[in-house]
């Protein structure tokens, strides 16, 4: 705990900006029902209302409050992305570390399976599977988690292989330590830094992937609010944008709001990841 506060104190401005952004999103996601002025999917006004009280960011094509949907969208999009990333890491890191430690046939088989999965473009593969399984949230999470775990597998396997050549591993092996002790106590603490950094990056990719799928209509299904879907619904408005007055301009800006929410979170997470990466590389000395 001391270490964490110590590092936080030394964090550069960019990291602080990232932390503030991420915390802001976390508060939005957790407190959505309290923070949102209107319900997630209720029609509360006319179509495409301008940015005035009580709809500060206007309404969408079905008269739903855009601000409320953005706040609920944080909960849905970020929540699902987080669960997916955690799952992808559990799966990928477990198999990656096992493959590196056991080696031999286990490594050969799992690596080839991963190679096959990676050979298929992920978006096309996801579209294919989701078309077969239907677009439930569970299916979405599982498909993306498995696809992304292949990348985590490769990274954790490579990192662990580097660590496994160290003399302290040989010392542990000579002592006769079991494999799980070896992975948990000797390898994992040393692999943690790159894995944490990868977690941040992977989270962004998953998040963008879900948004992309939603944009294509195969992600999170309406009426659940989701930023990717919101971009898709309002995308065509951009061509009707008229910047003569503020009122008409807000109409054209509608698709930029969810897109901006996606972009801002991606930037925030990356700022934090950069800092963690920097810290972990500094700690190696």
């Amino acid at each position: 705990m001391y270490n964490l506060s110590h590092h936080l104190k030394d964090a550069p401005v960019s990291a602080w900006i990232g932390i503030v952004i991420v915390l802001f999103y976390a508060v939005l996601a957790l407190g959505a029902p309290f923070l949102a002025p209107f319900a997630e999917s209720a029609s509360v006004g006319k179509q495409y209302m301008p940015w005035t009280s009580p709809h500060y960011l206007g309404t969408d094509a079905l008269g739903r409050d855009v601000l409320s949907r953005l706040i609920y969208g944080a909960r849905n999009t970020v929540g699902i992305a987080l669960v997916t990333t955690i799952l992808a890491f559990t799966l990928g890191a477990t198999f990656g570390l096992l493959a590196a430690t056991i080696g031999g046939w286990f490594d050969a088989i799992s690596s080839r399976v991963v190679d096959v999965l990676m050979a298929i473009p992920p978006l096309i593969f996801a579209l294919l599977i989701l078309t077969i399984t239907g677009t439930s949230v569970i299916a979405l999470i599982l498909v993306i988690a498995i696809l992304d775990s292949t990348r985590v597998f490769r990274l954790s396997r490579a990192v662990a292989q580097g660590i496994l050549t160290m003399d302290y591993i040989e010392v542990a092996r000579m002592r006769g330590e079991g494999m799980f002790w070896l992975i948990r106590k000797e390898v994992l603490p040393n692999a943690a830094a790159p894995l944490i950094a990868e977690f941040g990056l992977r989270f962004c990719f998953v998040f963008l992937f879900i948004s992309a799928l939603s944009f294509l209509g195969l992600g999170i299904q309406p009426p659940t609010a989701d930023w990717g879907g919101m971009v898709r619904e309002s995308a065509k408005l951009i061509s009707f944008a008229n910047f003569a007055t503020f009122q008409t301009a807000t109409f054209g800006l509608a698709p930029l709001l969810p897109a901006g929410a996606i972009a801002l979170l991606t930037i925030g997470v990356n700022l934090v990841v950069d800092w963690v990466l920097h810290m972990s590389s500094g700690l190696k000395d």
Binding site: M166, D167, Y168, E170, V171, R173, M174, R175, G176, E177, K185, E186, P189, N190, K284, D285
Partner: protein, 545 residues
């Protein structure tokens, strides 16, 4: 010979760590005349390399020259533009790095890298540079000088690479060459050839040189004058002969004293009890290639057996076989009269406990994420089942035993220890298992001489107190002289000679032992000259490729 080439005055160099500048070099003066060789010695962290690089007006990343002046042949280097420095570097000042294998670009042939500097600096055309390279390769006694330049770095041996690098530094006939520990990574037998080559060519072209090393005997062969550094400050400087014969400062004297450590004969040799460890007719290797070919070795309880030989002779492979990390393809192992299973996995825990190993690189042998108490505590828990309070007490006992203060060190991370302290922790970890046999794999070769001596004394004391048996793998003959009872000389996977230390070190020697022993540099400045005269044909003979 008296004209001044390099003058560094009151040099201060700082390095950045933890967001502040910390001094590395604290006001050192250095002058060098044309054709003169200055030996720069000191332990690691003394600032030798930093000072050497500063002679080129260069500092490593994160460092800066914060004070003082550097004049090279009348030209100020501290204020010089990068362009002006670029004109000098490679052309008039050259640098030879410690590890030639890492300093050569693996993607280009040797001769391409040789030609780069003279062509870039406009000294020669490519064709001239090529023929010049062949000439220098011949002078530096590389085999097949016409063809060797067309090889890639991985296709020639370490000693040859280091010589090729020296030739490359010579390409523009610089006025000054900085040698940064050029032979530290080499075997003694190879080292001789590189030393002879460097000295020959530097003398021939009357090049001045700064020779950085921590090996006193090596610097004695090379240098006209010697400067001793300690923690960024000069301890003393004088001509090589004066320095060797009559060191003034206590620190310098202590550096010399290291060579005197001699272990008293062991208190109790259990000759009557039968051997502790026996290796019979062992062959082992990786894949189809046998590294060890029919090794027979008997180790008596309470003695130290030194295994010597150059790299690739199979010393470490033997250690791995004894530890059970590499199952042998033939032969058998016996511990205390009982046969040891070939693979470590099949050995019962109690048997595994009796045989411990200490690695060469304490840096990589300690998990950087574990605290000292976890590192030493784990074997206590694993082998002896100690927990909680009892474990803690035993960790403290072990730390006291290896001369580290328990209160200060028990909660530290390995990164908070010096090299010697890390090696001590490795020793404590081995002792924690309460072994009777410890393999020490080059345990002192990564350490400074003073620190290494401390480790040797510690190991010796522990042996007396705990009745331990050591197998001491090393390529350093001085270490063997100081601690061994028995000596085993290995070459190409076979034992060439073995016997008590007194027998091995007194003539007549087996031919290979003779070569190995005579290759160990001595403190006498005339040693290399004498040896080369004596060997004559041996050194000029071409290394097999």
């Amino acid at each position: 010979m008296t004209d001044l080439l390099l003058e560094m005055k009151d040099i201060h160099i700082e390095g950045r760590s933890d967001r502040q500048w910390k001094p590395i070099i604290k006001g050192v003066d250095l002058t060098l005349n044309r054709g003169e060789i200055l030996g720069l010695i000191g332990e690691s962290g003394a600032g030798k390399s930093t000072l050497g690089l500063a002679a080129m007006g260069y500092t490593k990343g994160g460092c800066r020259i914060s004070g003082g002046s550097i004049h090279f042949d009348g030209q100020d280097l501290v204020g010089a533009s990068n362009e002006a420095l670029r004109q000098l570097r490679g052309a008039r000042i050259a640098y030879v790095a410690q590890s030639a294998a890492a300093a050569f670009n693996p993607a280009y042939r040797l001769i391409d890298q040789y030609c780069e500097a003279p062509v870039k600096h406009g000294v020669m055309s490519r064709a001239e540079a090529q023929s010049d390279a062949v000439q220098l390769y011949r002078k530096i006694r590389l085999p097949n000088p016409e063809d060797i330049g067309f090889r890639y770095p991985h296709q020639v041996s370490g000693g040859q690479l280091q010589r090729a690098m020296t030739a490359m530094a010579m390409a523009c006939r610089p006025d000054l060459i900085i040698f940064d520990e050029p032979t530290t990574a080499l075997d003694v037998t190879t080292q001789i050839e590189v030393l002879a080559a460097i000295r020959g060519i530097v003398r021939e072209y009357n090049t001045a040189a700064i020779y950085i090393t921590h090996d006193l005997a090596v610097v004695a062969q090379m240098a006209d004058k010697i400067k001793v550094l300690l923690r960024g400050e000069e301890v003393e400087e004088s001509s090589a002969r004066d320095m060797l014969a009559n060191p003034q400062q206590d620190y310098t004297k202590s550096l010399w004293a290291v060579r005197d450590f001699r272990r008293a004969p062991p208190a109790a040799r259990h000759l009557d009890e039968g051997p502790l460890l026996e290796i019979r007719d062992m062959t082992a290797g990786y894949g189809a290639v046998d590294i060890l070919k029919g090794i027979n070795l008997t180790i008596t309880r309470g003695t130290t057996v030194a295994v010597v030989g150059e790299s690739g002779s199979g010393k470490s492979t033997m250690a791995r076989v004894v530890m059970g990390l590499l199952p042998p393809s033939g032969g058998s192992l016996h511990h205390n009269g009982a046969a040891l299973p070939k693979s470590g996995k099949q050995r019962p825990r109690d048997l595994q406990r009796h045989i411990q190993m200490i690695h060469q690189m304490a840096d990589t042998a300690l998990n950087p994420k574990h605290r000292i108490k976890d590192i030493i505590g784990r074997p206590l828990e694993f082998f002896l089942g100690l927990k909680g309070r009892a474990k803690d007490v035993r960790i403290r006992e072990l730390l006291t035993l290896i001369e580290l203060d328990p209160d200060e060190f028990i909660n530290r991370m390995p990164s908070e220890l010096s090299g010697g302290q890390k090696q001590r922790v490795c020793i404590a970890r081995a002792l924690a298992a309460e072994p009777d046999f410890i393999i020490c794999d080059e345990v002192t070769s990564a350490l400074d001489q003073l620190v290494a001596e401390g480790i040797l004394r510690l190991l010796d004391r522990l042996q007396r107190e705990m009745d331990l048996t050591y197998m001491f793998i090393t390529h350093d003959i001085a270490t063997v002289r100081s601690i061994a009872d028995e000596v085993v000389v290995m070459q190409n996977g076979v034992i060439v000679e073995q016997g008590p230390k007194e027998t091995i070190f007194s003539p007549p020697h087996a031919p290979y032992t003779e070569l190995l022993l005579s290759s160990v540099p001595e403190m006498d400045p005339d040693w290399l000259t004498g040896l080369l005269k004596e060997r004559g044909a041996v050194v000029t003979s071409e290394e097999p490729l």
